[in-house]
Subunit: 220 residues, 2 copies
């Protein structure tokens, strides 16, 4: 389907998953172009893709002539160019909180456990699958523990991470919980996170963005 919005995505990328959720929450149609991170050395490293995204990472969102990278910057852009529903609260303090929750995940959890890091600890330190698992679980648990404290300890947490409407922080949380389950991180100590994740799972915007529902997901 032709569209003005083109998302370069990989089905299992947490960062692309965030953008899919945001596009769905906004009700925006978009075309998916799959970038297979594992095929033949990684399609993200081709010259054609690197010209769009010099970091050679997904996602990239193309909106007409504009090429947008970095998932949180893309969410902010969508929120500014396509209101409503808003992905961020109306007040500065609330926005600061929602952004901080998002950045706990996007800066301090996800980049440390993503594919390129695991490939590097294997090549640099000979990490085997067991050690990669220890690595991924350690950093996810460290971040999720802080996030649970931030969520459970605040009156601003509602049905979702901030109040009773889904937004940026939820679009970061759900992909991170998905990834934590994949790595078998024990999640019992994070009841608030699990409750919000379950609430999000009741919304089509989140379900339709799930990795398994993407056109480039492997057939079961």
């Amino acid at each position: 389907m032709a569209s003005d919005l083109v998302l370069y995505s990989y089905w299992r990328s947490s960062a692309a998953f965030r953008v899919r959720i945001a596009l769905n929450l906004k009700g925006l149609r978009y075309e998916t172009r799959a970038i297979h991170l594992l095929r033949e050395g990684g399609e993200q490293h081709t010259a054609a893709y690197a010209a769009l995204n010099p970091q050679e990472l997904v996602p990239t969102l193309v909106d007409g002539q504009r090429v947008l990278t970095q998932s949180l910057a893309i969410l902010e852009y969508l929120d500014e160019t396509h209101p409503p529903p808003a992905l961020l609260p109306a007040d500065a303090a609330g926005r600061a909180r929602a952004r901080a929750l998002s950045q706990v995940i996007a800066c301090d959890i996800h980049p440390i456990g993503n594919l390129r890091m695991l490939q590097w600890i294997e090549s640099q330190f000979g990490a085997n699958d067991e050690q990669k698992g220890v690595w991924a679980r350690h950093w996810m648990a460290t971040g999720l523990r802080a996030l649970e404290t931030m969520l459970a300890g605040s009156k601003e947490t509602g049905r979702y991470c901030h109040g009773d409407t889904p937004g940026m922080a939820d679009a970061c949380l759900v992909p991170q919980v998905y990834n934590a389950r994949r790595w078998k991180v024990p999640l019992g100590d994070y009841p608030t996170i699990l409750r919000i994740d379950a609430t999000c799972d009741g919304l089509d915007a989140f379900r339709d963005a799930m990795p398994e529902h993407q056109p480039d997901a492997p057939k079961a």
Copy 2:
């Protein structure tokens, strides 16, 4: 000096450095409270500080009753509550670009090479100082190479990362370049980054925020 703004900072933290630059660009006075990351197991891990910042990381900015964490969320908050000069461009596409440049650093370079990661690769894989250096330089070079391409290839790059006024991306760039020099990352391949860094170094807002000028910096 008493102030409504209190910054919990560590002199050599890149993330605290960003916030100091932003506060200075805005002309805001603030009180520094030092959190010594290395003293006696790390002051960031005390119960008193963890109550402010559950991630047990710096910086934390306290603005009256508001406790703000995550450096980029703090910069956005300062920009929304204390205009002008603006830290972000006026147009949505420009803001998306400035945020993306910032996030290349704040998500994909800095968290991977910071203190807690280096401590972890030592404990997990027995990394020695040489291997820690290889690690830090690899991730900094990977990110700075992409950033140079993004800056050198855009007509929106001016005297600073975005146009001719300093902003959020510059507040991220200068601490990262500082850190790269500390780790002896060869910087010759990044002429645009070096040019912008030198331009920023001509401004008091950046110079006053330098690690060596902080109250908790070791005496020479």
